[in-house]
């Protein structure tokens, strides 16, 4: 065999092995056909609504600067998912308010931000929900919401990543933008002057 032909054959063989190896891991798992329904792994994907700065302020129940002072262990509640009853796992983040921008809560007040997701023993619940950061001060746009209905007042971060800004090194750092903290807060204060604590529904939102 000519040297060039040998290289071609060898390369095709390597490419084939490379492609086959991509599926090998999955096939190995498929071969383990042991069903254990008690430890299903839950996944949640959410389609967020797009908000502009004014809309998210208007729709929020509470807009505040603060920091996370405590995070609970993962907790769960059994919920009915049509054909199965499965554990809905979540964590509570305790957010201490240092400056209230909407909602009129006093400085030092601690509110609960409930975030789906977590792991308890063999149960795992993977979500794309945004968790408050635990390192920096942050501004959160919050809406009262409780997936568990345990008679506690809890909040969710509005609009996924759109509802969280970390305040660090003089900047307000959001998911899609990073601007001067001073300019950002001036803008938010402008919305406060315009709307006060009133909840304003964005276009297409009915409640």
């Amino acid at each position: 065999m000519k040297k060039s032909n040998f290289i071609i054959v060898l390369s095709i063989l390597l490419a084939f092995i490379f492609l086959v190896s991509l599926g090998a891991n999955k096939n190995a798992r498929i071969a383990e056909n042991e069903i254990n329904k008690s430890n299903l792994i839950g996944h949640v994907h959410s389609s967020n609504i797009k908000f502009d700065d004014e809309e998210i302020f208007g729709y929020a129940d509470l807009v505040a600067i603060g920091k996370i002072v405590e995070v609970s262990e993962a907790k769960y509640e059994i919920q009915d998912f049509h054909s199965k009853q499965l554990p809905y796992i979540y964590k509570d983040y305790f957010f201490e308010i240092t400056k209230d921008l909407k909602g009129d809560l006093p400085q030092g007040e601690v509110v609960t931000v409930r975030v789906p997701g977590g792991e308890i023993g063999k149960h795992k619940f993977v979500t794309d929900s945004i968790s408050p950061g635990t390192t920096y001060r942050q501004l959160l746009y919050l809406k009262e919401w409780n997936p568990i209905d345990d008679n506690k007042v809890t909040y969710t971060i509005l609009g996924g990543p759109q509802g969280k800004y970390e305040l660090r090194e003089g900047k307000a750092v959001g998911f899609e933008k990073s601007i001067s903290e001073e300019i950002f807060l001036e803008k938010v204060k402008g919305f406060k002057e315009k709307y006060g604590n009133k909840v304003v529904l964005p276009p297409g939102v009915i409640k």
Binding site: F18, I30, N33, E34, H45, S46, S47, K50
Partner: protein
Amino acid sequence: MKTKKIFTAICIILILQFALVSTVSAHIDTNDKWSSNRVYFKPVYAGSDANNRIREAASDWNSKVPGFTFSESSSSFHQLGPDPGGMVPYGVAAATYYWVNPNTGYIEECDVYYSTSLSWHYGTSSPPSDKFDFLTVTKHEFGHWYSLDDCYESSHSSSLMYYHIDVGQRKSISSHDYNPARIMYP
């Protein structure tokens, strides 16, 4: 000289293959998949318009990913319907919940819940500026049935799997959305 050219060409091919797989993997949530290339779903809205848009979304995905089929079945427990309460937070249009057996990697349960806080457009025409397009959101949610992840790259903000949707916006399934699904279900 000829050997060197061949070697260079082969290297380029292998690099392109690697780049393709890397790009695709970035949009696949996990290696979780269905045990069969056909999955049955059940629309559970009271109104026929919503259920028809669910069928239309499924049909559109079927045409884009020939290796996988969404089929409707009244006995399926994989349901798409309004949030009974507590499943869809404020600020979210819809949520897909799916459950995987870690021993097999197979998805065993999948449900979609739609927000009841929104004004929905259930029609076939383009949505008005004060309603959310039910068809677009349903196509996005079906994307998650392939275990496609939400896309957070602003350069792909017009793609179906981008993480947010605007009021009055209609999107279609692009190659950026369906290529990873085709890899999952060739």
